[in-house]
């Protein structure tokens, strides 16, 4: 036991700077209530996503589908009433949508979809944006010119419109001929949305990272690194990138929310996930004929838009707050202030 304790003490001593920085980061987070809120919201959503099978156990067919992401329909409601949305009750805590899809189940499982869409799109566009941006910014010249004009072209078209066009235009499967064998990549409807969002999203990252690199490239410490015998690759990875990545990380965190919004918009327009898929935008879209109830009480069917809307709203808010918190915490030029 004492041996273990001395080992632990030694380890602590060796890792002193790391521990110190970690402690500082934690106090930094504690000091800002907004970042705590953002973090709390996201922790809540992560818990929802992880616990989805417990919180909303999949319903066996015929009411449910084998795929847990397909929202179950309540077939116990008489067929005449089934097209109408039903207010929250003991069986349906959040009520039902048109066609009697269970809103509670959809909202819970929709969390996983939201994370999947947001994170995958962001990670993919970040990778593409980083690689192209670093190359354009560091080497400049003709490479820079070609890349930048291409990004200009993509940015010139309104994002949502381009997304819609791409979702419609993308084929359901790609066949790549490798000569000896054929590689078939099937794209589900959700994959198409992801791909379209990535294709529309990466140019803005490229531009931001390029601008940052142009700025950092001229700094003395880059020249100093070169004078100390560093190779181009090393200068890029070790000296330029760590100094220019923070804006893009913050942007990515803010964008995760925005991506979810765009995906919801696409779903609402009927271009997103297949009908009945657990997706917040889809859930609102399912009962779009009932959002406006009647003249005497326009918001009588409040649950059909308010509940999924609240999910989207808080999810996006959480990411935005976290984005601001990231800036305060991660950026070494700001964190000591």
């Amino acid at each position: 036991m004492t041996d273990f304790k001395s080992k632990l003490a030694e380890f602590k001593a060796a890792r002193q700077p790391t521990i110190k920085e970690l402690k500082f980061t934690i106090t930094r987070i504690k000091k800002s209530p907004l970042s705590i809120m953002g973090l709390a919201i996201l922790v809540f959503y992560i818990a929802l996503a992880v616990l989805a099978p417990v919180l909303a156990p999949p319903v066996p067919p015929p009411m449910g589908k084998p795929d847990p992401f397909m929202v179950w329909k309540d077939l116990n409601i008489p067929a005449i009433n089934r097209t109408l949305p039903h207010p929250p009750n003991s069986i349906h805590p959040f009520g039902t949508t048109e066609e009697s899809y269970d809103l509670y189940y959809g909202c819970i499982w929709g969390t996983i979809t939201a994370f999947r869409v947001g994170l995958m799109v962001i990670v993919l566009s970040l990778i593409i944006g980083l690689v192209t941006g670093v190359i354009a910014g560091y080497y400049g010249g003709i490479v820079d010119e070609v890349l930048m004009r291409f990004t200009d072209m993509v940015i010139a078209v309104p994002g949502l419109v381009l997304c819609m066009a791409l979702v419609v235009a993308l084929p359901p499967q790609f066949v790549i001929n490798l000569g000896f064998t054929q590689l078939t990549i099937a794209l589900s409807k959700l994959d198409k949305v992801l791909l379209a969002l990535v294709l529309v999203g990466w140019p803005s990252y490229t531009r931001v990272i390029r601008g940052e690199i142009l700025k950092v490239r001229e700094e003395d410490y880059v020249e100093a690194a070169r004078a100390a015998g560093c190779s181009d690759f090393r200068v890029m990875i070790k000296h330029i990138l760590p100094n220019s990545i923070y804006p893009i990380l913050i942007m990515a965190s803010l964008d995760t929310g925005a991506i979810v919004l765009t995906a919801a918009a696409l779903s609402f327009l009927g271009l997103g996930a297949p009908s009945g898929y657990a997706d917040w935008g889809q859930l609102i879209s399912l009962s779009r004929n009932y959002i406006y109830a009647n003249i005497s009480s326009p918001a009588a069917n409040w649950w059909v838009w308010l509940i999924p809307g609240l999910f989207i709203f808080t999810f996006v808010l959480g990411w935005n707050l976290l984005g601001d918190a990231f800036r305060d915490i991660l950026d070494p030029t700001l964190r000591r202030r």
């Binding site: 003395d220 004078a227 100390a228 015998g229 760590p242």
Partner: protein
């Protein structure tokens, strides 16, 4: 003593929208072993560019159009740096020649601690030596020894690089400890009071003087034979400046290296240098021993520079006229429009540099 560096007819031009900037036009310089050569001149006369060219660095859109830079490396071979490829140059940079920059705050990467910055130079150029030290410490003939032996055999292999990135397995605690020891030693050498604490600090937590000490530590980490100091004390206040100059002088003796000291401060030159080269608009006008230069300046520009040093109780003198535009420099001697002794020939023909007295070289038609 032989020449460590010999610059011959170096021509550097910048191709910009406005035209071709003739930044360096036929620079000839020699730096002897273990000497301090001062390069003095106005802002924009090409002092820094001379320094960078010796390192083989030309910031875009610059282009070296001609000339040779011979350098005697640690192993006794003399090479023309301008004819070498990047690979060879990278080995020379940092280990044979290193540079100190003007703004210590800007020359340090803000995201790394002092230890990390110095460790980078150490790992880059002295990994083998450090690994040997580590290997000597291990007594047991176990896996650990095997790993370090493998690393010594091929210090730059990819598998080791990948392995090092894996936490816990790749902790390399012994190598890290060794590097830490070395870093603290170097920092102590730089007269930093509390090297253990400073090693863990980020650049912006240090004062200007401390930052410059760290920069010098980085530059000297690999015992270079030539240290290029580009106005290292310009942004520091007088007391710190004196300390840093003392430090450079002392380190130069202990490391037996040559120093190319770039400055516009005549006082620093007088304090530190053995020989001085005076530059004006991309040309060398005079090279002389420091005492000789201050006693008997030969070139009119040197005279004017020395006269313009502010002295208490006297009226401040400045050189009349403007620094020429290097896109369209004046024909002939570039100083002739501002020169009080100008003759007709000065506007027509470029004066060649000649030895007017032993060890005093001047480029002027008066001699």
């Amino acid at each position: 003593m032989g020449n460590l560096v010999e610059v011959q007819d170096l021509v550097l031009r910048f191709y910009t929208y406005e035209g071709v900037v003739k930044a360096l036009e036929g620079i000839n310089l020699q730096i002897k072993e273990e000497e301090t050569l001062g390069v003095v001149g106005e802002t924009g006369c090409g002092k820094t560019m001379t320094g960078l060219s010796i390192l083989g660095i030309t910031p875009p859109p610059g282009k070296i159009e001609g000339g040779k830079v011979f350098f005697k490396s640690k192993y006794g071979k003399t090479v023309n740096l301008l004819a070498q490829n990047e690979r060879v140059l990278r080995k020379i940079r940092g280990s044979d020649i290193s540079m100190i920059f003007q703004e210590p705050g800007a020359a340090l990467n803000p995201v790394y601690t002092v230890e990390n910055q110095i460790a980078e130079a150490l790992l880059h150029h002295r990994r083998r030596e450090l690994l040997e030290k580590v290997l000597a410490q291990i007594e047991k003939n176990g896996i650990e020894k095997k790993i370090y032996k493998k690393m010594l055999e091929n210090p730059k292999s990819l598998t080791i690089k990948v392995f090092r990135k894996i936490p816990i397995i790749g902790r390399q605690s012994r190598l890290k400890k060794e590097i830490r020891k070395e870093v603290v030693n170097i920092l102590r050498e730089m007269e930093i009071g509390d090297p253990e604490r400073v090693a863990d600090m980020y650049p912006h937590e240090l004062s200007g003087g401390m930052q410059q000490r760290v920069v010098i530590a980085m530059a000297l980490a690999c015992n270079p034979t030539l240290l290029i100091a580009d106005e290292p004390t310009t942004s520091l206040d007088m007391t710190v400046q004196a300390q840093i100059l003392d430090l450079i002088r002392r380190l130069k003796k202990t490391f037996r290296s040559s120093v190319l000291y770039i400055t516009h401060d005549m006082g620093v030159i007088a304090e530190l240098c053995d020989r001085v080269a005076v530059m004006y608009a991309g040309h060398i006008c005079e090279v002389a021993e420091v005492k000789e230069l201050f006693k008997n300046p030969a070139h009119p520009y040197t005279k004017a520079l020395l006269e313009s040093i502010p002295r208490p109780g006297e009226e401040f003198k400045s050189i009349s006229g403007m620094v020429p535009n290097l896109i369209n420099p004046p024909l002939g001697c570039r100083f002739h429009p501002r020169c009080p002794f100008a003759k007709p020939i000065c506007a027509e023909e470029m004066p060649k540099i000649k030895e007017v007295k032993p060890e005093q070289f001047v480029a002027c038609h008066l001699y």
